[in-house]
């Protein structure tokens, strides 16, 4: 396993008002370690989407719960883990949305996950409902 060069932790109440704080931290770290503005914007949006899913779905808008954001940097990549202790989900059961179908049906679900997978190089899930659910997102240095 590559040596971790830098590590940051953020533990913050599960409130959508806090999304801007999470984005600011992630964006600043991404730029500081060498990602350009465009890449940092993608990383910022992916983490926003993961945290929004936690707030809306894992904790069902219960603002008394906490979101944990862990940021690790090694020689080749940035690793961001968004963790919660809420209701888990089966990532295999989440279908990426068909947009034409979404327009017809007015459905909105799955778009955040679709964006995360598009924006990051690698996405992994570890789901233990009520214990700890983790979304691990990786971006490699180019």
């Amino acid at each position: 396993m590559p040596k971790i060069l830098k590590e940051y932790q953020l533990k913050i109440p599960s409130q959508s008002d806090n999304l801007s704080i999470i984005r600011d931290v992630v964006s600043k770290v991404a730029r500081r370690i060498g990602f350009n503005t465009d890449e940092a914007s993608k990383i910022e949006l992916a983490v926003d989407e993961a945290c929004t899913n936690v707030i809306k779905h894992a904790y069902a808008n219960n603002s008394n719960q906490m979101i944990e954001v862990s940021i690790k940097v090694d020689r080749k990549k940035l690793i961001i883990i968004v963790a919660d202790k809420g209701k888990g989900f089966n990532p295999d059961e989440i279908k990426l949305p068909d947009l034409n179908e979404s327009i017809k049906e007015g459905r909105k679900g799955g778009l955040g996950l679709c964006l995360i997978k598009t924006l990051m190089d690698k996405v992994e899930f570890e789901i233990k409902p009520g214990l700890k659910n983790k979304v691990k997102m990786i971006k490699y240095f180019s």
């Binding site: 465009d38 778009l111 964006l115």
Partner: protein, 94 residues
């Protein structure tokens, strides 16, 4: 900071950062739109899927009466988000 301001009957001006915390504020404005409408993105700095969903729901509602949203003056970053989400084929973007 985020603002959605209805100007006249057919233009909405978006300002700031449109994320999940701003959905209710935005819905109050977009739900009041009854006809085709231009949405000006000149001063919008950021949008997440929560913001995209407000636009999608409005587009769906308007399309039932033959109306639609026209999105104007997006910066490169926001245009990229629409492209990543596949929304660039759903809306008229000028």
């Amino acid at each position: 900071m985020f603002e959605a301001e209805l100007k006249g009957n057919n233009e909405i001006m978006l300002t700031g950062r449109f994320d999940a915390s701003q959905v209710e504020k935005a819905k109050m404005v977009f739900d009041a739109v009854a006809n085709s409408c231009e949405v000006d993105f000149t001063d919008l700095e950021y949008i997440s899927s929560a913001g995209l969903s407000v636009l999608l729901v409005t587009q769906k509602r308007l399309s039932k009466s033959g109306n639609s949203l026209k999105l104007t003056n997006m910066n490169k970053h926001i245009r990229d988000v629409f492209r990543y989400a596949g929304f660039d084929t759903v809306f008229e973007i000028a």
